[in-house]
């Protein structure tokens, strides 16, 4: 990925709704980062002090399940945002995140962005409007996955038996 950070942020559709000034301010809180495949970005329960715009690569969100290891709940591809636990207290990650592939991203300093949101409500509102659709979209996708649409009747029965037995 080439270009200055400000230019990359300005060119990215995710930030299209921000004004030039807001994008420039955000660039001041950002830094270009790279992760090797397999490198962990954060652990479940850790301090949510950053968020990322994935420019290239893929990141898996996971959760440690006793007896089953780290279970991947979702993968996030290039062009998407990683991390929203920084928006609200207690500012702790609900899941862990690990790079599936070599990944490049813009990393943002979350406490600094939060401070900017508090000091400038117009900026804060604009930032929230960037994240709300992402949160909504992932919630809807999760709800659809909960429907288990691809399950055969026997798989549905198996699931029901398991649920009844636990």
């Amino acid at each position: 990925m080439t270009g200055t950070l400000a230019a990359r942020i300005s060119a990215h559709p995710f930030f299209a709704a921000l004004t030039d000034e807001q994008r420039a301010a955000l660039a001041g809180d950002g830094a270009a980062v790279a992760f090797a495949a397999g490198e962990r970005l954060f652990d479940e329960g850790g301090s949510a002090d950053r968020f990322w715009l994935i420019e290239d690569g893929s990141v898996a969100l996971d959760m440690g399940v006793p007896g089953r290891g780290d279970q991947i709940v979702e993968t996030l591809a290039s062009g998407t945002v990683l991390g929203w636990s920084w928006l609200h207290p207690p500012y702790r990650w609900h899941f862990g995140a690990v790079a599936r592939l070599a990944t490049t991203a813009i990393e943002f300093d979350a406490p600094s962005v939060r401070r900017r949101c508090d000091e400038d409500p117009a900026f804060g509102y604009a930032a929230l409007r960037l994240f709300t659709p992402v949160i909504t979209e992932r919630l809807q996708a999760t709800r659809l996955r909960l429907l288990d649409l691809y399950a055969s009747p026997s798989q549905v029965r198996q699931r029901e038996i398991l649920q009844a037995d636990t």
Binding site: E74, A77, A141, L144, R145, D148, L149
Partner: protein, 289 residues
């Protein structure tokens, strides 16, 4: 381009109601509950099934179900001699069909319904989005496009499945990749060792970098999956008339006689299963009675 599949002429004689008996030439277990059978017409080539069309398959003494064609085999001399169907055991009839062994007999009526009309995508990119066993009716789209590769732009196949173990045609997906098909797979539930994507199939759309102005989309899977996928493709800019979905309703006669498969103004066995999303969108939101 009409945005619809290829419409078959209306059937007026009773022949479509009488099954021909095909012999099971081969049987392959794809997943734990999914089987692909090849059926041979005893007296020669099989009828010209177009991609997307379906047959009514009879398990003797059990019943009859509509199953889309998933391919044609042994096509020497330009006429296929084998009909390929991928079946999932979900009820008494499909369980019996899945259990049929080579040499056994299966009743076949058809071809019925509209096809994907792959040729109408000539000069454009082909975007195929499959959910679960919905990959089976879409397999002929890939095969048709690959057989005449220079007529089409990119071929993008996005597949969602329940678990890695439920993925159909895993070997073929690898072969298609080598042949230049851009294949992306996501699962709802990852298993240990799965290194691919996890999430809804719609999450694969944006990273695919589609050219909406020059794409024709073929979508097949559970109704809700087709709806959210078609909506996402339309939101990207692919006109609804260039997004085709394959509707599954209660097809019985296959010839628009009985009305069991009526969906609003459509008799799905005749006017579908392949329908443009410009027509299907509103109908897919109608609650069943």
């Amino acid at each position: 381009m009409t945005g619809q599949g290829t419409t078959m002429p209306p059937l007026t004689d009773p022949a479509p109601a009488v099954p021909c008996f095909y012999r099971v030439a081969s049987r392959r277990e794809d997943t734990g509950d999914t089987v692909t059978v090849e059926l041979a017409e005893p007296d020669g080539p099989v009828p010209a099934f177009a991609p997307g069309q379906f047959a009514m398959l009879t398990a003797l003494g059990v019943g009859e179900v509509p199953i889309s064609v998933s391919g044609l085999g042994d096509s020497g001399g330009g006429r296929a001699r084998l009909l390929q169907h991928t079946l999932r055991a979900v009820g008494a009839v499909t369980r019996a069909l899945c259990a049929a062994q080579p040499g056994g007999l299966i009743g076949v009526r058809g071809p019925f319904g509209t096809g994907w009309d792959v040729a109408s995508a000539a000069g454009r990119d082909i975007v195929i989005v499959a959910g679960g066993i919905g990959l089976a009716p879409l397999r002929p789209v890939v095969l048709t496009a690959l057989a005449d590769r220079s007529r089409y732009g990119r071929i993008v196949l996005l597949a969602g499945t329940r678990t890695p173990g439920d993925l159909l045609y895993a070997d073929e997906l690898e072969r298609w990749r080598r042949d230049g098909v851009e294949v992306a797979v996501t699962v709802d539930h990852a298993e240990r060792g799965w290194s691919g994507e996890v999430g809804l199939v719609t999450a694969l759309i944006e990273p695919a970098g589609l050219a909406p102005g020059n794409s024709v989309a073929f979508v097949c899977g559970p109704d809700i999956m087709m709806r959210v996928t078609a909506d996402a493709l339309a939101a990207l800019g692919i006109p609804a008339g260039r997004i085709r979905v394959s509707l599954e309703r209660n097809m019985r006669c296959g010839a628009a006689w009985c009305g069991h498969c009526q969906l609003g103004p459509l008799l799905v066995c005749r006017d579908g299963p392949v329908v443009g999303y410009d027509r299907a969108a509103a109908l897919m939101r109608v609650r069943e009675l």
